[in-house]
């Protein structure tokens, strides 16, 4: 299970690599022209995605038929007007189209100047073009991108961690339900001690797995940085990468961990509420649903983090793990608010663990056909 994500990533990278290599030739186009100068001029400016070996229409048609070529462009400069004809199985993409149009425009202009026999001064005068500039504050732009990226990375991470480990915790507890080994254990230690021990054990497993993923991620990052293209990309977006990492490895990480703790406790409670060990798979449902609710309520608020509901939910245990990190990323939660929310979350975890610990023995020793909600009600009554 621990190696699963690594194997999945390795498989995806491998398949992408093979797919990219096998399909790259079929995405290329050929440039064909009777004018060697015109063709050479085009290839000097744009050589990416061009199959330079094909120089005739016949060869191009043959290559297209064999699915080795996406299309071919013929350039004709025999008259006073340049002609460009593209033949392909699909339309030219916008980037390629703009590239060809730009080239034809430049070349046509050069040809026009030659035909009109203009003086250099006249040529310069005609070459004047209007100027449109955009003035964007680089800091603000990057900052917004950092927030958006951090938001998505964080809530997706919280959601996946909670969904995965809630199920594991619930099933782990539910599998003990009604077994006689629980009677032996409860004749040896208190249910509260056992419950807290069990939760601590599950959490340590979770933390170990997360540490393995972080180490694996770091190793993957180091290997990826050996690739010049990726290194260039990362260096070009240094402030973005640093900003996202900063937003993940601060108080937000504590919220992720405490979120895992409170959801694990709830998952354990759900596990103890099922009718019998065989129903373990149903045990995680309430926790998964609550976690999904947190995730899907958070989504619409990504651009409206000042909403009252976001502020309220950033203090409500189970939801604060989603909403307070969102506010922290956005910079709309002061330190006092962050500490207040943390205190509420910690108190809720403590009280919740104590409350469930006291009912744990009764729940774990029950074996009847009551459903999860009937057990919930029954656990509050004296048996």
């Amino acid at each position: 299970m621990i190696l699963g994500p690594f194997l999945l990533i390795a498989l995806t990278v491998g398949i992408s690599y093979v797919s990219a290599n096998s399909s790259s030739s079929s995405r290329q186009v050929a440039v064909i022209s009777d004018s060697v100068v015109l063709r050479k001029s085009y290839l000097q400016q744009h050589n990416s995605g061009i199959n330079t070996k094909i120089t005739t229409t016949t060869k191009a048609k043959k290559a297209m038929k064999a699915n080795h070529l996406a299309g071919y462009l013929t350039l004709d400069a025999s008259g006073s007007q340049l002609h460009g004809d593209y033949h392909g199985s699909t339309a030219m993409d916008n980037g390629f189209k703009a590239q060809v149009q730009n080239f034809l425009m430049q070349y046509q202009q050069l040809k026009n100047y030659q035909t009109a026999k203009l003086t250099p001064k006249q040529q310069r005068a005609l070459a004047q073009t209007p100027v449109l500039k955009q003035h964007i504050s680089a800091k603000t732009g990057t900052s917004n991108l950092v927030k958006t990226l951090s938001f998505w990375v964080l809530i997706t991470m919280i959601y996946i961690i909670l969904i995965t480990y809630s199920s594991i915790a619930a099933q782990e507890i539910a599998s003990d339900k009604g077994t006689k080994i629980m009677e032996i254990i409860f004749s040896s230690t208190t249910a509260t001690s056992y419950f807290i021990g069990k939760i601590t054990g599950i959490l340590l497993v979770i933390v170990t797995q997360i540490v393995i993923y972080i180490c694996g991620g770091w190793l993957g990052y180091t290997i990826a940085m050996q690739n010049s293209g990726i290194k260039k990309l990362v260096l070009a977006n240094q402030s973005l990468v640093k900003g996202v990492f900063h937003n993940l490895f601060n108080l937000n990480l504590l919220y992720v961990l405490l979120g895992v703790v409170i959801y694990t406790i709830l998952a354990a409670y759900s596990g103890a509420l099922v009718a019998k060990a065989e129903d373990a798979s149903k045990a995680a449902q309430p926790v998964v649903m609550l976690s999904m609710a947190g995730f899907f309520i958070a989504l619409p608020f990504q651009n409206n983090l000042d909403a009252v509901l976001v502020k309220i939910l950033s203090y409500v245990p189970f939801f604060s793990s989603y909403f307070m990190p969102m506010r922290i990323i956005n910079g709309t939660a002061g330190l006092g608010e962050q500490i207040g929310s943390l205190v509420i979350l910690l108190a809720a975890i403590g009280l919740f663990a104590l409350y469930i610990g006291r009912r744990y023995q009764r729940l774990m020793l029950q074996t009847d056909s009551k459903n999860i909600w009937q057990h919930l009600i029954h656990s509050h009554r004296r048996s």
Binding site: K180, I181, E183, S187, S188, T189
Partner: protein, 298 residues
Amino acid sequence: MLSIQHISKEFGSVKALNDVSFDVPNGQIMGLIGQNGAGKSTTFHSILNFIDYGGSIQWQGHTLSASDFDHIGYLPEERSLMTKLTIEQQIIYLARLKGQPAKVIRPQIDDWLERFAVKGTRKSKINDLSKGNQQKVQLICTLIHQPDLLILDEPFSGLDPVNADLLKQAVLAARDRGAAIIFSSHDMEHVTALCDQLVMLRKGDVVLHGTLDDVRDQFGKTELFVTTDWTAEQLQTLSGVGSVTDRHNRRYVLHLTDANAGPAIFDTLTQGHYIEEFSQQPPTLDEIFRLKVGEDHV
């Protein structure tokens, strides 16, 4: 001493225990008998605080609490172990829950495995053991920390006579070192062989309580074992004989309606001559059990 005083327990409208009281002194074995659903396991669960109950349960003069867990050995009715563990891991895990360090328990394991003739080594997985051997490992887990209070729910079920004898020896050894022991069983032979006292429950009520002899004597010496040339029909005509059971080969049991009829029957059967067998006894525990259960169906 374990002292149970006036405990009651209801599950909805069903009365599982009704004013049950008895004591189990240190160094004594108490047998708890009764039909299925009589309240035996509920009594054990009450002692172990698994359920809430009315009344009082005291251990060594105080209410039994978590601080006493280390001195209790409990064997539940259905066996259950952690099947992925090895024998050693399982024994040490449960012993550590009882406050015993692994370094104290580990050297004792081979001795206990030998004593119970477990087929497997300390490194054998629980899952690979036969049902009987798993049961013996569970018994070792119950006994290895030398508990002062032993609670055994149907400990003999599923054991063959040889292994049942091994368990009897272990229980008697625990009694001899001063442990208070309470166990339930449907096999009256084991109860007769082991118990200093017994309690019979019927639908949550105590219907019998005392030492084995006291309980049997309550019913009078109404069983007469004879070996004679008389036929069953002839024996049936004797005064004070309620019914006759043929034990084959001229051997009979006369079930008397009046225990005082014994001397007259002796005179009639012997006529002053030798008789191979004439023994007047109280009913066996098995017969008393059937009798008490039968009362319920009348």
